[in-house]
Each structure stands twice: as structure tokens, then as C-alpha cells.
Subunit: 320 residues, 4 copies
Amino acid sequence: MTLDRTDPEGSIAEAAKAYSNWGRWGADDVLGTLNFLDEARRREAATLIRRGVSFSLAQSFDMDGPQKGWRRRTNPVHTMLDTGTDAALGLQGFPHGLGGADDVIAMPLQCSTQWDGLGHIFDHGKAWNGRDAAKTVTSEGDLVTGIEHMAPHVAGRGVLLDVGRTIGEDGELPDGFAITEEHLTATAGAQGVTVGRGDIVLVRTGQLARTRRDGWGDYAGGAAPGLSFTTAGWLHGSEIAAIATDTWGFEVRPNEFDVAFQPLHQVAIPNIGLLIGEMWDLEALAADCAADGAYAFWLTAAPLPITGAVGSPINPIAVK
Amino acid sequence: MTLDRTDPEGSIAEAAKAYSNWGRWGADDVLGTLNFLDEARRREAATLIRRGVSFSLAQSFDMDGPQKGWRRRTNPVHTMLDTGTDAALGLQGFPHGLGGADDVIAMPLQCSTQWDGLGHIFDHGKAWNGRDAAKTVTSEGDLVTGIEHMAPHVAGRGVLLDVGRTIGEDGELPDGFAITEEHLTATAGAQGVTVGRGDIVLVRTGQLARTRRDGWGDYAGGAAPGLSFTTAGWLHGSEIAAIATDTWGFEVRPNEFDVAFQPLHQVAIPNIGLLIGEMWDLEALAADCAADGAYAFWLTAAPLPITGAVGSPINPIAVK
Amino acid sequence: MTLDRTDPEGSIAEAAKAYSNWGRWGADDVLGTLNFLDEARRREAATLIRRGVSFSLAQSFDMDGPQKGWRRRTNPVHTMLDTGTDAALGLQGFPHGLGGADDVIAMPLQCSTQWDGLGHIFDHGKAWNGRDAAKTVTSEGDLVTGIEHMAPHVAGRGVLLDVGRTIGEDGELPDGFAITEEHLTATAGAQGVTVGRGDIVLVRTGQLARTRRDGWGDYAGGAAPGLSFTTAGWLHGSEIAAIATDTWGFEVRPNEFDVAFQPLHQVAIPNIGLLIGEMWDLEALAADCAADGAYAFWLTAAPLPITGAVGSPINPIAVK
Amino acid sequence: MTLDRTDPEGSIAEAAKAYSNWGRWGADDVLGTLNFLDEARRREAATLIRRGVSFSLAQSFDMDGPQKGWRRRTNPVHTMLDTGTDAALGLQGFPHGLGGADDVIAMPLQCSTQWDGLGHIFDHGKAWNGRDAAKTVTSEGDLVTGIEHMAPHVAGRGVLLDVGRTIGEDGELPDGFAITEEHLTATAGAQGVTVGRGDIVLVRTGQLARTRRDGWGDYAGGAAPGLSFTTAGWLHGSEIAAIATDTWGFEVRPNEFDVAFQPLHQVAIPNIGLLIGEMWDLEALAADCAADGAYAFWLTAAPLPITGAVGSPINPIAVK
């Protein structure tokens, strides 16, 4: 596809038209590409559980996270309603020596490892499936495609594409590196794995390891490796169910147009209906895949069914 | 075991002593009975994925939930940072027709479907493994056994014990019904399923269906069916990895002593080291199990790795 | 003015037209009737400080408040980041014996004693001064008339109209009692006080005392005494700066039309530009006024300058 | 008093002993030095309202504030429950053309302009009046000296000591500048104002103007001008009711001992019982005082009565 740096509007329009899935699963669809993840695919994926070893692909949820306040996104604030300290002093009023601790969290749903729901991004006022954004996501939340609709579905075949290890130096792609379809294909080939319909694809850039050494800086959305805008066709044609990266923003930063903000999101979410994950921690899994050569696995990444949410914090679990 | 209604303190002490797992997995253990869930058990469990059908076992997270303010527990408050309504009006300042929606949540970690972490309950100032509660869970959270340590582990064999369907009327146990070891064994027998080491056991009472008809009332912790205090021995001896119910409080309410509050928790969490789940929605899964007769399945119920948390909201996924 | 129970739309339109202050203080106005409260009025009001006694007119902010979840309004959730319990155990890491306690709150700005800002209510898509509601209050808050603009202004002459004591039985008006201009005038006359331009008028119904005896029930917005829709003319013509009641909703509940929701708000806020306070605790002040016969006083009721807020919790202070 | 840089423990102990007010107002006292602010003092202060001009001394409450995450302190997160944007589209379900906007805030009580309550700081496990910190401030909040007890009291005579203008260059003291009793006395003398019993003293360093030019940096508690530890005697002997500065931390930063954290707090709050304000915006008031030469005024700075809080956001209002 074309990519004219001076014309994001035109490129987006072209890609949106070419790769739209509007209407593909009916007018009432609330799942988008998750429709590709069917029971048959799940049965095949189950056979990938061979050793019984499991990996959490979530970053921790705490004040050390990437959100510094941009657009009112903060790191999660976790506080205690009751503590062991109080309990030990007998201050809680419970009988027979019982003590308890409870807790509370206040957090953006986009604060750490997460899914972007279908109501997270709009294209010229249109939400997924061509719906009017204004009537889909109000201040009451996503009234149509809230993340709760995805609650039972996100369990199937996961495939790691460790582009950082295959193409980068010391396992990391540099900031600003745009991952193209060729990079994805080359990585799959080098790893001996095939991406197929209904897969949940995990793209490792290696940037997370770098942020752990160097910090996130003032703005987690700064320069980073990520998917090129030109992968829109692959995202559509591969018929994957979902895709996630280990970066803040999924696509390459800065974006590939002179003036732009997350143009690939604008094609992928409202037009393709693609489920996108961000800030996944793929380090331990990637090391294991490099060691045993098995890049496909059983993956469960269930969003919390927060009614009307346009995203959800998650703890994805890969089992090999 | 004995149960003298007038002596919770004595009964708890007796059970705590008889069923303690302190030291069983070393002085540094942070997993408790999750240690029973090993890779071999996971490999066996994977074979239970036969049809590829998946079930979410989570209630929704919204203002219709059970928490009405007791001990500062509220239902989750979900608000939007940006909306489609704003986006459609071009008020967001993004280029090339991009619009976005973000959201925020404030919620107790105990507000809906959840795991109780090992730091959730203390016995006479002692936390799991005999630790000093005062130094384990402070206002900074659980410094030792925070739920983040469980992040990769909760994936394995789930077994549904549908006591409501087997023993109740119209699929529901009445409020105040104490489920004993005999009921659990009889249910397993009737269902043709065996509970084993490392299993995640789901006990359906049917009360959730009732609360959906009648509401939770002023206090979700009111009268409810649940496990009898006398099941402590079974919880210990069965070597299960975790257990969850469809009720607010896991154990029978009112509790079985004249003056008491959650005495089985006091044995199970700090002494046995047992992972306990509450307010799971087992309705759809139970209906499916009744239909196909398969009561064991692959289960993933991954807590969010909130650093220092004593519990976590979850969306458990069962796959058959 | 007319009040046809079957035609709230017509009555509102008539009142909005008759009592509009749009343009009165220029196209850029962000203060509404607070413009009436000028320096001269403040100088006069200062002379009302005679005894030096001060009263807080705020209800407490805690879980015992009136908000039970309607439209996601909860009571305030106050949690501790650090405690004396931790400090006493030396767990905080500070030098030389220092200990500290910090806290956090999550609350609707409308949860307890409050001001409704000018962006709180709209009339057919129009905000105060005729502005387009859609461009005035977005999910980023009130971009034009945020409560921060009122920060320095709300200090002047307060006048208590204790309608409950003057007209009610045992100091309380019954639920559903509509306070008319005649009731207000009669109360002022009986008390020997005159309401004038720039005053902050406090109307006591006595309902708060009742809710303290009987609780708020499931919905704080249930039946209550309050201002009649027919007082719109008086609210406009009296040129008061602000008005507050001791009830949840300022105006009488149920409202005076067959099908309606807070019709007087719809006239008063967007059309008159009137600052309205709710859930003030007037009990101690009213008892003092009844005792000494002085119903006018110095009043400060400063909103927190939360940028873009459409309301603010307040602790109004009356000094006599 | 002595100040041995190597011995904060000794200096604090000496000052605490010399300046303790424990027991001065009885064993049950919950007000500390606010007891000095009596009705007579309020009557005198009222005469200071001469022009009728009012000033807000609060910084704004928004994401541009000073809190970047230290000890889980964030800036306030303000979100909308309903918006004008939704209302204009008729999405809210209200009758007769009514639209509404509501909002929610999540914030540390120490996030912006504030009072430190008496439960905010402890000295070797002791809270104000000699109470056991462990039993005074638990995870349920300050059970004894919660800020709600101060609700009606903080209205009286305010005195500005503009040390920045009197002693600094261009109206600002440099970071690290320790304001001594001599500086305070010289400033009062230069301004022609006398500080007396029951006063609320406002000390302007000018640092706030600097942070507005240069930002707060990564940590608002970095180097700043502020009160010297050696002012403890003056704070005690002057019998002032309260004191506030325009800085994050009230006392000079870095502190005046080699290894220390807020040692003057440790004397002033638990031992003197002094009400301390931080991050006040004194800029507009100070400019006015410099212009008219009147440095005393009527001041109302009412904390929100958040039950059990150890501090409160405030909007202090000065009237001259």
C-alpha cells in the first residue's frame, strides 16, 4: 500500500476502504476479529500445552508504571481499607481473633497491560462496524461494544513473533523502527511458525526490556519501535483474532506521517475490528521460546467484564 | 471435627492446628496451596479441552453489583476520560479524523468476582505461613504475599461441584444451608467426577441465580448457603489448589457459631494457605455441565498482578 | 406564573424566557448571579459579625452519606496511604522517629454539601448564557464555566429563611411540600429579615433532621420538601447571588408536573445563571438564629477550584 | 535553640520538650492551636474587611499540579459522569429538554492547597496531645483528631508575612533558604503588621511563582525555601492558631540536618498541635497587600469535614 508522509488522511482513507470488515459478521456484531477465533481453532490450540509450564504476560500494576499524567492517565493507585498492622493490634472489631485486609484501586483501564476494546478508537466519527461514535460511546461508556461482550472469548492459539530477537541487535529493535509485513513474515519463517486464522499474535520488539533499564521517561508514548502503518493489509488479510505488542502504543512512534497520531489504530480498530493489546510483558515467554523453539502456545487473555468499558487491564497467561 | 456453637475460638484453634500447612513449602513460600498445581497436573488438564467451547465465570463489574458500602466496599465506579460523543463533534484535537475513548475505574478489589489473596485474612495476628500480620500487610499493601506472586500460576484443572443442582431444590440451596464434606462427596459421586490434588474446585450453590431474581438486599453478606466450617479437614486433605463459590462469602452465612465472622476463612487462608474465590458466576458453565455430563475442564483464572494486593478482580475462563 | 401539571415543557419555556439573564453580564460571563455579590455588599455583610461565633454548614463526607449509587453517585470513599499504626511499628522508613499519615478520597463532586456549578444543568442543549452545551461541558469537564472561576467570589451576606420552623410542624416541612414565594416572604417577615441583591439565601426545610432520624432510604432524591417551580420569578427578581437548601434536590420532590425531573433547575441554572447549593446542614445555625433572632450573617462558601468541575464539595462557614 | 546538623534526634527531642502543648487544652482536645482562635479574635478580625475585595488562595486542582507519584501521591483525576455533549445529543433520558453534567474526583487529600490535620505527623509513635499514634490513625482514618473536628473553626484574622518581597530578590527567596524568627520579625516590622494570638499566619516565599515559570520538576518536595527548624520556639510562643506557606513542604528543603525528613513538622504538629497549610497561592493577595499596605485581613479556610481525614484540600478566602 501507499504511504505518503504528507497525506495521512488519504492513506488512512485508502486503507480503511481496502481493509474494512464492516458488516462481515452482521449489523449487530460486537466482537470484530474475535469472530475468527472459533471452537475448532481452540481445540487445535489445546494440543500446544505440552510441558504444562505457564507464563504471565502482564506488567505489574503499581506506581512504577508508564503513565505520568498524559490525558489524565495515571499509574494505578492502590490503597488499603484494612491492614494486618491494624489487625495485629486488635483494632478491627472482629470476633475470635479474626483479622482482615481489604483494598481498593483507582486506575485508568489503559494504565498497564491491556486490551483496547472496539470502542477505543474512531475514524471520522465512526466506530466499529460503521456505527455512529456519538451514540456508541457516551459518558456512560460503550453502550454497544463494551468490553464485557468479549468476556468468554479470548482463549486460543497464541503465536509469538520475536522480531526483536530475529531482526534487532541484542534482542531489541531501536526506537522509531517500523515493523513491516516483511519483518513479520521473516520472523515467522526464522522461528518456523505459521500465523493463521484466529490466532492471537504477540509481537515482541524488546523495548520493554529497555524501559526497564532506562525508565519510561516523561511520556510513555515517546519514540518506540512498533508496527508500520503499512501492515494494515497484513492485519486484515491474515485473519488473526487479535494482536499485542510489548510497547505503549502498538504502532511505531513517531508515526510515519509528518503530522499524525496513531494512524494504524484508526484503520485497525474501527475498520478492521481488530482487538489490540499493549504493554504486554513478553520477556519470560520469549526467552523460553528461544530456548525450546516452540513459538505457538495456548493463550488466555480475558478482559474484566467492566460494563461499557473501552478497554481492560489483563493478565494474559500463556501455557506451553 | 467438633463444632461447638459456643466456642468458635476453640474450634478454630483445633482446626488451625490440625490442618496447618505452615512450613510445608519452606519459610519463604508465597503461594500456599497453589504449590499443588504443578506442570504435570496442567498437562493432564489440557486434555479436557474437547469441544473448544469457553465460558466466562465472572459477574459484570458495574453499579448493579453486590457492594452497598459495608466497610467502605462500593460497587465499581467506571467513568470516561474521552468519549465517542466528544470525538464525533471534533472536540478532541487529534489529527486526520482520529477519535478516541479512554476510561477509568475506582473499585474495591473485593467488589465482584475475585480471588482472596493470602494476605486477606489473619488468625490472631498471624498471616499465611506463620508470618506476623503487622509486618506483612501494612498500608503499603501486602509486602510479602501480594497477589502479584500468583500471576502465572492459576491455570489448570477445574472441577465443578454443582451442589445446588444435586442436593438443592430447583437447582438452589436455601440461605443458611451449610455444605458439608458429605455433600461435596455425594455431588462428585453423582456427577461422576473425582476431585484431586492441584484441582481448582468450583462449588455452585445456586444463590447467584436467586440474587439475580431478588437482588442482593442491603448487605451482600447476609444469609446465604456456603461451606460448613467442618469442611476444613477436606479442604486440607484433598490437596486442592484453590476453591471458589458463587456466593459473597464462600462459607455459610450466618456462620455456624453463635458469635462469629467467617471462621472458615480464618482456618483456610492463614493456616491452610488456600486460595479462595468468591462471587463467581457459574450459571452458564453449570448448565453446560449438566447437559454434557463433563464436570472437569481447563480453567484459567489469572489475578491482575497489582503489586501488594490482597485480592484481585478476575475473569475466570473455563474451556471444555 | 402558570403551572400546568401536564405541560412542563411549556411552563419551562415560559419561565426561561421571562427570567433569562443571558447576556446581562456580557457574552463572556462565567459567574451568573454571583455578579450581584459586589464589594459594597461584602462591606455591609462584614458588619454582621458581632459575636464572633462560627458555624459549619457542611454535612460530613463519609460512607453514611445520601448517595447510594443512582447514576454512579456513591458516597465518598476515604482511604489511607499511611497510618499511625504503621508509624508506631516503625515500618515507614523515615529518620529520627518521624511518622506520617496521608490519605486519598474518591468521590462524586455532588456527593454531599455542594454547589452546583453553571455547567451542571442544560436547557434544550443550551448552557448558561446561551452557550452550546455540547461545546461547553465535554468529557474533559466544563471548558468555559468551570467552578474554578467562582473560587474567590462566594463570600458575603447570608440570610437564613427557616421555612421549616416558621411554617412547618416541629420545625419540619413534610415531604412533597412546595415552598412558594409567599412562604419565603412570610418567613422573612416573621423573622424580621429582608432578602436583598447579592445575598446568599439559605432555605431550611428541616428535612435533614428527618433523614438523620430515619435515614436517606434507597434514593436520596425521593420525596422531599423544596422550592416550588413557581419561585422562578422570585429567584430572578430578587437578584440574589446564590441559594441553598438542606435537601438533596433544592426543589420539591416529587416535582410539580406529572412527568418531570428537576424543572426548576432547568430554569434557574442555565437561564437565570443562579448558583444553587444542596444538602447543606443548617441545623446548628438555625437553632442559633432562632435563639438570637439574627437571621443574617457573614457567609463564606468557597468551592474548591477543581479545573472544569460542574460542582464542588464545600464547607460553608457562617459567622455571626 | 541549638541546631546540631548531626543530631536531628536530639534537636527534635529538645524542641518537643520545650514547646509541647500536650494537655494545655485538656486530655480530650482535638483542636490544638486552633483553640487560640476565639470569638473575641474573630470580632476584631471582622473589622479588617474594609474594601470588600476577596481573594482565593488556592492553586487549581488538576493534572498540572505538583504531585508526580511520590508515596502514591498523584495529581487529582477529575472525570465526568455526564456531559453537555451527551445532553446536546439527547442521550440522557431526561424529560422536557433537561440535560445534566455530573463529575467525580479521585485525589490525595495532600495533592494541592491543603491543611495538614493533627493526625498527619507523629513523633516517635505519639500523635497530638500525647496519644498513641497506633490507636489514633488506623486504616479507617484518624479516629480521634479527624479534620472534621476543625470544620467550623478556621475563620479569623489572617496576616501575610511576605518574606519573599521583603528579604528576597525580585520577590523570591532562593531554594534552600531557611526563614528564621529574625526574618519573620523583620518582615512584620517592614510591613507594619503585628502577629498576635489566634492569628492565621501566611508566609510567602515566592517559590510558587518560580514553579509556575519552571515547573515542579520530578519531585515537588525538592529544594525550596521554607521555615527554619529554629522557628519552633516562635511557632509555639507566638500562640498563632495556624500557619501556611506557598511551598510544598512548609519547612526549608533540604532540611537543616545531615539526614532528616521534615523535622519541624515533627515538633509542630504532634507536639505544638499546630495547624499547618501548604501549597497556598499567595500571589494575588501579596500583590494587593504590597499595593495597599494592609497585611492583615479576614480569612476563612474551612477544611472539608471528611470523617477521619488527616488533611483536607481547601480554598482559603481572604477578604480585605
